[in-house]
């Protein structure tokens, strides 16, 4: 049987992406459906080809992943689980080294600072987030949004589903704003981190998820990854 580090080396040569979906609470199944529309399969599926995903419910589940999706849901609930047994610290180290994509509550977890109310976060995304800043459920809305896709050419607008959505404030210099709603940033990128105040996973449009997969592919090819194992 080969030593563990040799196994790791073999894995790096496999072209398929290994993605995690944080499944503590929230719309993690909707993200899995979006990934399946892009051709990824559950890791347990023997027919899995281009890429696979798995649920992440504890720190050990992060092992060997190329990237992680942090879904929508209740960030207060997710934080209770992250407080257990060093999970928050390991997730912070993961997000500092590997691509992560947070939607709504997931973006709240990634942010530098969280208000309304104040709560802990991973602090990797240089952004302040105000929770439930558009109001309660009756203030939730769906809006078309212009966004700067990969081509930077005119693309069809994104359909943006905002549910008790947070507001992104005070973006730092490293933050690239990819989409705005009424002038405010709602989809941002900082290096390998992607965050949306809305829910692309609740629409049929897979372009934001596809963009995240491209970020992962680029990150896998960069030499940095070889020198910085998780």
């Amino acid at each position: 049987m080969p030593a563990p580090d040799q196994l790791e080396g073999e894995d790096q040569e496999k072209p398929r992406i290994r993605l995690g979906i944080l499944a503590l609470q929230g719309d993690y199944a909707a993200h899995a459906r979006a990934l399946e529309r892009l051709g990824l399969r559950p890791e347990s599926d023997p027919a899995a080809a281009d890429g696979v995903w798995r649920w992440v419910r504890r720190a050990a589940d992060l092992e060997g992943l190329d990237g992680l999706i942090l879904p929508g849901g209740e960030s207060t609930t997710m934080l209770k689980f992250l407080a257990e047994a060093g999970f928050l610290e390991q997730l912070r180290a993961f997000a500092a080294a590997r691509p992560c994509f947070g939607t709504c509550a997931g973006a709240i977890l990634l942010a530098r600072r969280v208000s309304h109310p104040d709560q802990p976060s991973l602090g990797v995304l240089d952004l302040a987030v105000e929770r439930n800043a558009y109001g309660r459920q009756i203030d939730s809305f769906i809006a078309p949004g212009e966004w700067e896709g990969v081509s930077r050419a005119a693309e069809p607008p994104l359909e943006m589903v905002f549910i008790r959505a947070p507001r992104f404030r005070q973006p730092g210099e490293a933050i690239q704003v990819l989409a705005r709603w009424r002038g405010e940033p709602v989809l941002v990128r900082q290096g390998n981190l992607l965050a949306a105040a809305f829910h692309p996973e609740l629409t049929e449009d897979t372009r934001v998820h596809a963009m995240f997969l491209r970020i992962i592919q680029t990150a896998r090819q960069s030499p940095e990854r070889l020198t910085k194992p998780a």
Binding site: G26, D27, G72, E74, F81, Q137, S140, F141, I163, R164
Partner: protein, 293 residues
């Protein structure tokens, strides 16, 4: 800008998946629930066990209480209205609650009609004992279905029966021929279009949660393994010896429902559960689940 869409209504239910929605009667309980990791709270005047014990007419909770609960927590706040009482629902919508439960736990206000839930911007959850009931509620505009179980008993047997019934009836639909689907829709007393949709997808077009008698971490995990996408816990938390510890354990068990080792940890060092009532010993007129049509 679309603001009344059904997708926004089911969208919030998507956000609650894998979570626990806890019954609370005041702001202090709401804070305990949020602190324990509840994904949402349900504001009501009395928990079902007390409604059952004290009797009388059970109505929408006092507005002042709901307001205090909404101010106390950052998670979504749901509230119950009586079956068919569309004015209680209008008032709750005006108040700004995040979800309305048109609930058999309260005394029904209409013996024939449920609320026309399409007329509201706020989403509704409704109870169901079987697929026909679930599809009738969805046809009326419910954006989430929960099993009824038998609320206020701490006996999970009816929640199990209802979840198994719904799951089995959905599975049966998937193998029926087109002409059989027409006949089955008639038997289910449900719109054919919804029956055909379930036959094609093998699941409800809205999230399917569980409620009614869940009192322990093991009960919560049982309902999740049977196909529930989240659980409601009513009397089970604040009628137990140590509500905070029990609430935390049920939240943990709901997330790790497939992991017996973690479930074992969830069950260690818990105080006494709610005393409970044997649901089989209830007379038919004492059952709450038969309310709703």
């Amino acid at each position: 800008m679309e603001q009344n869409g059904f997708r926004l209504k089911t969208g919030l239910a998507e956000m609650l998946k894998g979570g626990v929605i806890m019954d609370v009667t005041d702001a202090d309980q709401a804070r305990i629930a949020e602190e324990a990791g509840a994904a949402a709270v349900m504001a009501l005047e009395r928990v079902p066990a007390d409604i059952r014990r004290e009797g009388g007419v059970a109505r929408m909770a006092a507005i002042r209480k709901i307001r205090q609960i909404m101010a106390a927590v950052s998670i979504p706040v749901m509230a119950k209205c009586r079956i068919g009482h569309f004015v209680e629902a209008q008032i709750l919508e005006a108040l700004g609650v995040d979800y309305i439960d048109e609930s058999e736990v309260l005394t029904p206000a209409d013996e024939l009609h449920h609320v026309d839930k399409h007329a509201f911007k706020v989403p509704f959850v409704c109870g169901a004992r079987n697929l026909g009931e679930a599809l009738r509620r969805i046809a009326e505009g419910a954006a989430m279905i929960r099993t009824k179980g038998e609320a206020g008993t701490g006996d999970v047997v009816h929640a199990v029966r209802h979840m198994r019934a719904i799951v089995a009836e959905m599975r049966q639909l998937t193998v029926l021929s087109p002409e059989e689907l027409f006949a089955r829709a008639k038997e289910l007393q449900s719109p054919y279009e919804l029956v055909r949709l379930v036959a094609r997808e093998g699941k409800l077009p809205v999230p399917n949660f569980s409620a009614g008698g869940i009192a322990t971490p093991a009960d919560a995990a049982l309902m999740m393994q049977l196909g529930a996408e989240a659980v409601f816990v009513g009397s089970g938390i604040f009628k137990s010896e140590d509500p905070s510890a029990r609430a935390r354990a049920i939240v943990r068990a709901t997330t790790h429902y497939q992991d017996p080792k973690t479930l074992l940890e969830c069950c260690e060092e818990l105080g006494e559960p709610m005393r409970g009532l044997d649901a089989a010993a209830l007379k038919p007129e004492e059952q709450l689940q038969t309310r709703g049509w």
